[in-house]
Symmetry: C2
């Protein structure tokens, strides 16, 4: 039976959810506190470029959306590591042809809202800030940012897809037995920019995610379709070499000269840009339950994570995809569906949250180390030798359908093997020899 569904938040997950729900025949009303991005342009809270990968593409493809956005997605086949001298080294992310895709959050969001709005049973309301949820009557209240008028919307089901600082979740926080852990990391980020070359060309390798790993901090760069790169400096907020020490144009230039000379050479206006852009914080949200009566959190509202595994959006899109599967499985029994949705997704959300936190260490520190690079090569070699039995940890998360929880567990298990291999004498010399594959075969036999 067709339901009245209210979606709070027209971001990536909210607009995808609108497409999925309207496709099922439900009547959908989407409320968004920001202005209509189709008119106003995108005013994002977080504008880090996104890395779209398998889970996200799968959810987009299922409803024919991927072909609408494919043209704005730039494949990145590997990590391009930049050392302090400006030498670069590419490590592929997966097998030949496998890539993650750099995509602009703003463009993607705009297209998804346009597509959702094509459904006759979807209505969007912008500039509408959620101010209250009455969980007993399934009524959401909104205040218009311009007119200050108050609107109420009664429906059968309410979704909170309103992001890390979800108003729906704040409302839910006052209901019995709601647990939440909202934690800001002691590091933050600042966006920077490399302009296109004179002929609109990319001034570094286009089809890679660039990383300048420097131990306690790092710079990354993702390509844009216009020939530019969006760069992000991730750094501690306090302490040696931290944001706290980057107080004027002189210190910023000296910092980049010392640690990122090749990037600095491509950013003539760095010192000015640096102080124009804010230093933003990074938050993680663990909470439970996600469902209260007929209201349910989804996406970042339920599980905001740090961006270091490139899985925030992909995880949110997978939420929607699995919700859709569960509605099929339970023949549109919403009570069963939402209950199973939260129990099934929660361990996966917890797993990717932990993996994302850990991946900061891998990106900013380990990825620049010789022993870690060797370990990655060995992991890839085993995966190639035993394609049916062994996947690299990165591939499990990024290129597979394994649940995040399963990927995390298997990754931890595989660590045992990789650590044993790394303890071999002269592993630097013999990693391409037979011993490594023999050890792997024995381990795979037992595990």
């Amino acid at each position: 039976m067709a339901k009245q569904i209210t979606i709070v938040g027209a971001g990536l997950v909210g607009s995808m959810l609108a497409c999925y729900m309207s496709r099922r025949g439900h009547t959908v009303k989407v409320y968004e506190r920001r202005p209509d991005m189709r008119k106003a342009g995108y005013i994002g809270g977080r504008s880090i470029n996104l890395a779209l990968s398998h889970r996200g593409i799968k959810a987009l493809s299922k409803i024919g959306l991927y072909e609408k956005v494919e043209h704005i997605a730039i494949p990145m086949y590997g990590r391009m590591i930049h050392d302090v001298q400006g030498n670069t080294q590419l490590t592929p992310y997966g097998k030949e042809g496998q890539a993650i895709y750099s995509i602009s959050r703003g463009d993607l969001n705009r297209i998804m809202v346009e597509e959702a709005d094509k459904f006759p049973n979807v209505d969007f309301y912008f500039n509408e800030r959620c101010t209250h949820i009455d969980f007993d009557t399934n009524t959401a209240q909104f205040e218009n940012n311009e007119s200050k008028n108050i609107a109420t919307q009664k429906s059968d089901i309410i979704f909170g897809s309103d992001g890390a600082y979800s108003q729906v979740r704040y409302q839910m926080q006052t209901t019995p037995n709601f647990n939440i852990h909202q934690h800001h990391e002691p590091y933050g980020y600042k966006e920077l920019h490399i302009s296109p070359g004179p002929n609109g060309e990319h001034l570094m390798e286009k089809n890679a995610l660039h990383i300048w790993p420097r131990g306690s901090f790092m710079l990354i760069a993702l390509p844009n379709t216009d020939g530019s790169f969006t760069l992000t400096l991730f750094n501690n907020l306090e302490g040696e070499n931290s944001f706290a020490e980057l107080t004027d144009e002189k210190s910023v230039t000296a910092f980049f000269q010392k640690f990122f000379p090749d990037a600095l050479a491509l950013m003539p206006d760095l010192a000015q840009t640096f102080f124009k852009n804010p230093t933003s914080s990074l938050v993680t949200i663990r909470c439970y339950p996600w469902k209260y009566k007929n209201t349910c959190l989804i996406g970042d509202a339920a599980h905001a994570i740090v961006p270091f595994y490139g899985q925030g959006m992909n995880c949110g899109f997978e939420d929607v995809n699995e919700l859709d599967d569960l509605l099929n499985q339970h023949h549109e029994d919403w009570e069963k569906t939402l209950y199973q949705f939260q129990t099934q997704r929660k361990p996966n959300a917890d797993a990717i949250l932990d993996l994302a936190l850990h991946n900061y260490i891998e990106m900013r520190d380990l990825s620049g180390r010789k022993d870690f690079q060797l370990r990655t090569q060995i992991e890839r070699r085993i995966a190639e030798a035993f394609p049916e039995k062994f996947m690299t940890h990165y591939s499990m998360v990024t290129f597979s359908d394994l649940s995040y929880h399963e990927a995390k567990m298997r990754g931890e298990k595989q660590n045992e093997l990789l650590e044993a291999i790394m303890r071999l004498d002269n592993i630097e010399q013999q990693w391409q020899g037979d011993t490594v594959l023999k050890m792997a075969a024995e381990w795979l036999e037992k595990n």
Copy 2:
């Protein structure tokens, strides 16, 4: 210079803060979402009787409030442990004459509001629910529960003393870098009642806190001035013997018959009362920072704890007392005061939160065990032998001015000594002998 101060929440901490601030000459407006308890009677969210002790009494006394409430405070000199056969054993809380005081939350709150309202520079507004804080302009917005009218109040300083589910904190949660951990315990509580005897007398020992420790659950009773007792059953929400198994009058009666036969004998209407009263949950709140711009959290809003150390209110009152000291110390420099308030109080709030969680185990389980009772006796014996150097852990928390943090650290340190003593051969026989005091003397020499 006199400030305009808005206090959100006229509970125990809010009304005490109103007294303290008006006494300093500030203009104070207190907004409370509940009706005026002087007219409507107390409608509490949590009506567990309170145990007022040294820290709370000190803060009340400093502004002459203790003499106004002393007549409704019933001294409890120790724990009265009830075993399954109905045998009782009293363990004193402190030295001769030291007590904690059973006091009704409703009566105490009413008197404090009356006292605060006597100041000409204090105004109370009831039925006013805080709906928004504009941190940039120090403006709080309220909606009247009856008229639905919206009021705004601009001031110099805003305090959120609105309890565990603080609206001010929910607002603060959206500000940069606010961290919070809101956790509901897997156990809950239900209030029960023992009526006075035929002549208005208490049917059990009046001057004790009664405990029926049963391992994974417990019943407690605190005396009221009218001859009755308020009882609270604390129990797991799920599992063996939990609330989940107490589904009808028969199972409740059987449960009490098995575990609390002496209490059951005094509660002829138990089975009916049990299902009239709700099963409530217990929440802990850890958050930081408490101050954002000119708004500051205080009391439960900043650090809600479980009730097992009887320190929730005492800690909130100590907050107000220390804030007052800091205002003196910094000559009413509010920026410095609020900043130091949060940095100074946070470790103490964390400490009492942990101690309170741990004390549930002590009350429901350990307090009924012979070895723990012996350990308590030994601890008291050492404290009596070395009154200048050694305090029992309970006394540090309950009867001293030591910071909670210091009390927790010292308690952990003293554990080493007590555990070494408990490992002595035949400690049951020799605990009153010389060895124990010799070990204590040696340990005190080194620590």
